[in-house]
């Protein structure tokens, strides 16, 4: 069986990649995709922890896996709103580049 650590390394890598993407990407759509990667990293960790707990004989209940469904549903709602706003942004300002959207400062 694959040990827990491997899953956690994977999820840590995904989370870091997502965070880097958020900070380095300039396209709004790609920033949103990077955030989704961060959320999925959390999901991987949750499922892996749940499996580990079941194998270790801790809790037979799949709380972690059920939580993942909540995360997925909420992330979908969030993505829907985010994309609507991105579309309004494109219609209004003709750009999806976050650097061009900086009228509010200081």
């Amino acid at each position: 069986m694959i040990p827990l650590e491997h899953y956690l390394y994977l999820s840590g890598m995904l989370f870091t990649l997502g965070l880097c993407g958020v900070m380095m990407r300039r396209n709004v759509i790609l920033v949103l995709m990077s955030v989704e990667i961060m959320l999925n990293a959390a999901n991987v960790a949750l499922v892996a922890f749940n499996k580990h707990l079941v194998v270790a004989g801790g809790t037979p209940e799949p709380h972690g896996q059920v939580f993942v469904f909540f995360t997925i549903a909420v992330a979908a709602a969030e993505a829907a709103v985010a994309l609507v706003i991105a579309m309004a942004l494109f219609r209004r300002l003709d750009t999806v580049n976050v650097d061009d959207v900086a009228n509010l400062r200081w």
């Binding site: 939580f67 985010a82 509010l104």
Partner: protein, 495 residues
């Protein structure tokens, strides 16, 4: 797991009513509205106000109940449920003069506010991480929509976009942290986490998880490290939404943070004091120094809000560090009660400030500070109201803000470990006095630049203005009723 539906309904009755009300509002708008702007939107607003008033009355009939598995209904939760429903009611009244200027979407506005309130009241009685996440996202996602409400204004869309990105990152931090808490404690319930934290040595992974959760929550209360969105979103969002954000959304973060720090971490919070107090110091510095050079009223109030989050964080770090046993518990309880009082004083002062901003920013929705130049000559009462609000926010006696700051600093003073932070907070009070007084200077000693006609606030908005001013003064002199309610709420948090 057995689920007792009756108990569950008893605990979450406020949320059920609010959810039903929000759906009803959408239906009313759909049936009566159909694209027309004036009549139906007012009708939706009337239904919303009446409904919220009934729900507010309902929250005063709630009895503490700890029978359900998925939430708690202690006096602390009830205090906050009343606070949130009251805030929503205030927001809907504040938005009335503003909504007249909207070109579209007036009918949905009350429904979204009610949905947000439902999330906030849900957060007040959270007892596990799943409910926490769902409630928090219900609040955040609806606020994304509200911030980008005026899709015709580039400013509003920009605010919405920035809000969405920062909010989504904070949510990712929160879930990732929750995963580690779950992995180390084997449960998503607060009680299990409290047991694990109280057991002595805390595993590294649990610390890491809790730290990420705290960082994720700092987004909601507007504390460092997730504070940068505040000025931008406050400035760009429609003014009533900013008012809602500044009080309701911040209080929603505060209620979670308090449960986590005071109740879940409990006496085990000793190791977190340094982090919390450090965050509080950074937040105070960022907020106060940022506010000095502002030229936009809403942005200015954003920075002022960041600094207020700093005081609240300071109160949260009272107790477990050096003070132990009953003495520590006492100090923590008075700190928690100070936070509860602080939020009420902040709600009163902020409501008045945003109402005045809505009136002076007129139809072009420009909240530049020049707009209030010479306000005392044009509208003496508005100038007086804003004066009371600014002095209360600054913490000048005899206003409510003074009592609030005094309570927080006195609670923090009881803890010798926090002495340097209390000194910093006092210095920051003086700094804040400077920029709040600058607003008064503009109103009383400068000549008006803006020549436009200021519309009169409607009857409801006028009543709210009077209530805010009188409340800020009254709570500064006769604060016992609210302090007693706050003590009661704070006490149940430690029970």
């Amino acid at each position: 797991m057995d689920i007792d539906t009756t108990q569950l309904l008893a605990v979450f009755s406020t949320e059920v009513w609010l959810g039903a009300l929000a759906l009803l509002l959408i239906l009313v708008d759909l049936v009566v509205g159909r694209g027309r702007l004036t009549g139906p939107a007012d009708m939706v607003r009337m239904v919303a106000l009446a409904g919220l008033a009934i729900v507010l009355w309902h929250t005063f009939t709630l009895e503490p109940n700890s029978g359900a598995t998925w939430g708690t209904l202690d006096t602390f939760a009830i205090y906050f449920k009343r606070f949130f429903v009251g805030t929503a009611l205030v927001t809907l009244i504040v938005s009335q003069p503003y909504e007249q200027r909207l070109e579209a979407g007036r009918g949905e506005f009350p429904a979204l506010v009610v949905f947000t309130t439902m999330g906030m009241t849900l957060l007040a009685s959270v007892s596990d991480f799943v409910t926490l996440f769902v409630g928090l996202e219900l609040v955040t996602v609806t606020l994304f929509m509200l911030a980008a409400w005026r899709a015709g204004l580039p400013r509003s869309i920009e605010a919405g976009m920035k809000f969405v990105i920062v909010g989504a990152i904070a949510a990712a931090f929160l879930v990732y942290g929750t995963a580690f808490v779950y992995g180390t404690t084997g449960s998503l319930e607060f009680s299990a986490v409290r047991a694990a934290v109280g057991a002595g040595s805390i595993p590294m992974a649990l610390k890491f998880g809790l730290l990420l959760v705290i960082v994720g929550l700092s987004f909601k209360i507007g504390a460092v490290p997730f504070h940068l969105w505040i000025p931008d979103v406050y400035q760009g969002a429609p003014t009533p939404v900013t008012a809602f954000l500044s009080v309701g959304s911040k209080a929603a973060g505060v209620v979670l943070m308090m449960r986590l720090v005071f109740s879940v971490l409990g006496p085990g919070a000793a190791q977190w004091v340094t982090i919390l107090a450090g965050l509080s110091a950074l937040t105070l510095l960022m907020g106060n120094l940022g506010a000095i050079s502002q030229t936009d009223l809403k942005r200015f109030l954003g920075y002022s809000g960041i600094s207020h989050a700093g005081y609240l964080l300071l109160a949260m770090s009272v107790g477990p560090g050096i003070l132990v046993g009953t003495h520590g518990a006492e100090a923590r309880e008075s700190a928690a009660s100070a936070i509860l009082f602080y939020l009420v004083a902040y709600l009163l002062a902020n409501t008045v400030a945003f109402l005045v901003i809505i009136i002076v920013s007129r139809t072009d929705d420009d909240s530049h500070m020049d707009r209030i130049n010479g306000l005392a000559q044009r509208k003496p009462f508005l100038a007086f109201a804003l004066t009371v609000s600014m002095l209360s926010l600054a913490g000048v006696p005899p206003f409510a803000g003074f009592v609030a700051k005094f309570m927080i600093l006195r609670a923090a003073m009881a803890d010798p470990a926090l002495l340097p932070f209390v000194v910093l907070a006092l210095v920051m009070v003086v700094v804040s006095l400077y920029y709040y007084l600058c607003i008064l200077k503009r109103m009383y000693f400068r000549d008006p630049i803006d020549e436009g006609v200021l519309e009169e606030p409607g009857p409801a908005a006028r009543v709210l203005l009077y209530a805010g001013v009188l409340g800020s003064i009254a709570l500064g002199v006769y604060f016992n009723p609210i302090v007693e309610a706050a003590n009661l709420g704070a006490h149940s948090l430690f029970g």
